[in-house]
């Protein structure tokens, strides 16, 4: 697996999905942990590309959970759920990204992925379909 560091955000793989603005986004974080037993926070936030900022956060979508990390002398694979990120503040459009971060550990590491979320409007987009023509 190749990881790319973009503006101190480590890019990681993620599937793409489409949501409506009244729906919520559930994030599953697959990670490894090495160290003593600890309690930390894991956060997720929807991002968008704005100018040179590839991971501009949409603050109202932020959600954090507390996780218990077991002691491990070697990297141990774990996963955590960050459920129900609200998407109502997102404009309907494609190209949203996602960023996750860890708190209460050494520093604030961040990981992200771009172009994984499309937001659709609740109101269907105006659509005109010509079904037939009549000449007179």
């Amino acid at each position: 697996m190749t990881q790319e560091l973009v503006f101190l955000v480590t890019q990681v793989p993620c599937n793409a999905t489409t949501k409506k603005t009244d729906e919520h986004l559930n994030v599953t974080v697959n990670f490894t942990y090495q160290g003593p037993i600890a309690t930390a926070r894991l956060g997720a936030v929807v991002t968008q590309e704005v100018g040179t900022s590839e991971f501009d956060e949409i603050g109202l979508t932020r959600k954090e959970v507390s996780i218990n990390l077991p002691e491990s002398l070697t990297p141990r694979t774990l996963s955590a759920e960050i459920p129900s990120l609200p998407l109502s503040s997102c404009e309907p459009k494609p190209g949203y990204g996602l960023k996750v971060y860890a708190l209460d550990l050494d520093g604030k590491p961040e990981w992200g992925c771009k172009n994984v979320l499309t937001i659709e409007s609740l109101v269907p987009a105006p659509e005109l379909t010509v079904t037939s023509l009549f000449l007179s």
């Binding site: 599937n15 599953t28 942990y33």
Partner: protein, 271 residues
Amino acid sequence: MVEILEIVITKSLPEEAVVDSTYIIEGTVKAFDALGAPPWVYAQVRRKDWYKPEAAEEVSYERGIPMPVSGEFSIGFKPEKEGEYRVTIIATPAPLALPVIGVFPTIAESDIMKVSVGQKPPAVFRFSGVTIDGNAVPLTNHDADSGLLLEKTTADHLELNASFEWVGPRTEATISIKAGYKDFAGAFSPKTDAYTRSIELPESPVLPYTGSLEEPIIVPLTACGGLTDGAIEIVAKIPDMGDYISRIWNVYATKPPVVEKIIAVESLAVS
């Protein structure tokens, strides 16, 4: 002189000695025939200064009483002046108090023991090593970095023993140990009181006496929490001498080492 006895020296005097120290001459005196109880024996001590003629030598006697059957005897020799001594064990039937003008008649004589007596060297003490929880740390200088960093808690203790070398007169001393740490200035900073043992240093005028504590000193670490560089200080207090102090660094740690917490996200899944 016709000798009817045989004097055998089993513990002779050293060739070099120092003033005011006692040296023991041991031996046996036996009759060639059954002549009854062995007679008195004396150590005839003759001393002269190197620049004086033979006639100017001083002669003194130290008496020994042989055991009735075995004939074993021991005589103490304690020179009070520097000089060249010649000591001879002689036997006589004369039941005299310590004679001042000689022993007569002499019926047996040992070989001459030549002893060069000089001034006492100054008393010297040094710690030669310390054992910490079974780990030997040699001390070639006053201080040493043990590098042990034994993992301890405040419920634990250190079991310490010290070995030492001593040259000097018989005396009593104390050995005290404190536990502490190395402060920012590089000096020892104590965290415990001194735990002390008394020791007896035997007379050892020339050759260094090597000894150690009969039982280890136990130093509880109750007051030594949160240390990453625990150290100990060992002090020997000897009368009429300055304290001999040794410090051993990096002996124990009561604070767990900092363990890095590493988290790495491998992938995300959204739904």
